[in-house]
């Protein structure tokens, strides 16, 4: 699955049904290519080591690669220095137009009604309550012009504004000894991050893009912006935030993308 290619809009208004169908089908569509990748691996890669492979051996290859990916999570957590800031750029360097990117087309980006919207905050926090957008806008705001790097390799510079996430976590009385902060999104996307990154000074609960309210295509009503992580770790359309000690995974991460995804 190419994370950048847009899915053509089929022109039906039953978006939620399609979305659900796509979610159910996606892993199965992946299967043949995953099998092909293993078959190809055996011709290109450790031929001698893996000769006479059966399916279970292939699965052990996958298990080994997943184990190395988890090891790479640990290495990245160790490399991550909370004091190191991502470079910032002048306004003239902002990429225009900033690319839209999701597992669906721009037309399918969810439209959220501000009046009815509530951000849910749960898990290991002292103050478990819902937040209205205007309450978040009333908190001290900050901004950044930073480089967004996609796991595909491309990058783009954008400007985001909003609440410093460490301020928000402090305000809700989050238990910062918990290992993870998880995010659930309006479009059923989900992801999670490590606590040190959550507390990084450039991690932003973004409410604006380029000086205006965060538009639908960039994640209205809010996205978590982290210049220290790859694009897929930056959830858009966030509707729920939870602090937890239990590994929450993520939409792409559960399919094989590296969990830490740090930059």
């Amino acid at each position: 699955m190419n994370m950048r290619r847009h899915v053509a809009h089929p022109g039906l208004d039953t978006e939620s049904i399609l979305k659900e169908a796509r979610r159910l089908l996606a892993p199965r569509v992946e299967e043949p290519s995953r099998r092909a990748f293993l078959a190809r691996t055996l011709t290109l890669g450790g031929v001698a080591l893996l000769s006479g492979c059966s399916l279970s051996d292939n699965e052990s290859v996958e298990t080994a690669l997943s184990a190395i990916s988890r090891w790479n999570d640990r290495v990245q957590a160790w490399i991550f220095d909370p004091r190191v800031l991502a470079p910032t750029y002048p306004e003239s360097m902002i990429t225009r137009p900033f690319p839209f990117n999701a597992y669906y087309g721009v037309d399918e980006a969810p439209a959220v009604d501000e009046a009815g919207f509530r951000l849910e905050v749960t898990g290991r926090v002292a103050d478990r309550r819902d937040w209205r957008l205007d309450e978040l806008r009333a908190l001290p705001q900050t901004g950044q012009i930073t480089r967004h790097i996609c796991v595909e390799g491309w990058s783009a510079i954008g400007r985001w504004g909003g609440v410093r996430f460490s301020d928000f976590l402090a305000r809700v009385g989050a238990d910062t000894s918990a290992r993870y902060v998880g995010f659930k999104c309006v479009d059923d996307y989900y992801t999670s991050i490590d606590m040190p990154t959550a507390l990084h000074p450039q991690t932003l609960l973004a409410l604006t893009y380029d000086g205006r309210t965060l538009p639908r295509e960039y994640g209205f009503p809010m996205k978590l912006r982290m210049p220290t992580k790859l694009g897929y770790k930056n959830p858009k359309h966030v509707r729920a935030i939870f602090v937890t000690g239990t590994y929450p995974g993520g939409y792409w991460e559960d399919q094989g993308y590296n969990w830490f995804g740090g930059s």
Binding site: F37, L44, S155, S263
Partner: protein, 199 residues
């Protein structure tokens, strides 16, 4: 370096690190092509059949697994190469004039391969080049992996986007080296025997 029996061309550690490096490079290049295809820098893609990983996540898993093999094996090779004196004994002196002279004699079919323990100037330059190229690949790769954390390295490469290009062209040069290397091995088959058996 010759062993006491005088017949060894390549010591065992060199042969081992050579073949592990060949495996690591094959995995890194083939999976790297798949990663490139996710967002091509230039107006072409690598045919999927010669890439590895099946899809972007699979290719990334292979790439970030083989990087450990490449890094540990490469470090071991460099340390042993320097500590044993082989690096300076076999690859130096090398000069542009010497390389040119040997290229011209090779083109006239007059470059001798009498003593496989002795590298001619073209071989010296080519092998030193590929060592340096692999170092550049690793350093530019570190910038792509951790552009925020390795800020000094990022600036040395000219920024994240420039590092992508450095990584790509260093790969292209590595592949060109491998192609030429394989042609030379085909022309002088006993060099393959020496790299397997040591003599």
């Amino acid at each position: 370096m010759t062993s006491p029996d005088g017949g060894t061309i390549h010591p065992a550690w060199l042969r081992a690190t050579h073949w592990v490096d060949a495996l690591a490079v094959a995995v890194m290049v083939a999976s790297g092509w798949r990663i490139y295809n996710a967002s091509p820098l230039f107006d072409f893609e690598f045919p999927a059949a010669i890439t590895m990983g099946g899809w972007l996540a699979g290719a990334l898993q292979w790439h970030f697994a083989a990087m450990w093999l490449l890094a540990f094996n490469g470090t071991l090779y460099l340390v042993l190469n320097i500590a044993s004196g082989r690096l300076f004994g076999r690859f130096f002196p090398v000069s542009p004039h010497g390389v040119l002279r040997d290229v011209l004699s090779a083109l006239r079919g007059r470059l001798a391969h009498d003593d496989p323990r002795h590298y001619n100037q073209v071989q010296r330059a080519a092998y030193l080049f590929v060592m340096l190229d692999l170092v550049v690949l690793v350093l530019s790769g570190l910038v792509l992996w951790k552009s925020v954390q390795f800020g000094v390295l990022r600036e040395l490469m000219g920024g994240y986007e420039a590092a992508r290009r450095v990584h790509f062209f260093a790969m292209a040069l590595l592949v060109a080296f491998v192609g030429l290397h394989l042609v030379m091995v085909a022309l002088v088959p006993r060099s393959l025997r020496a790299m397997i058996l040591g003599r």
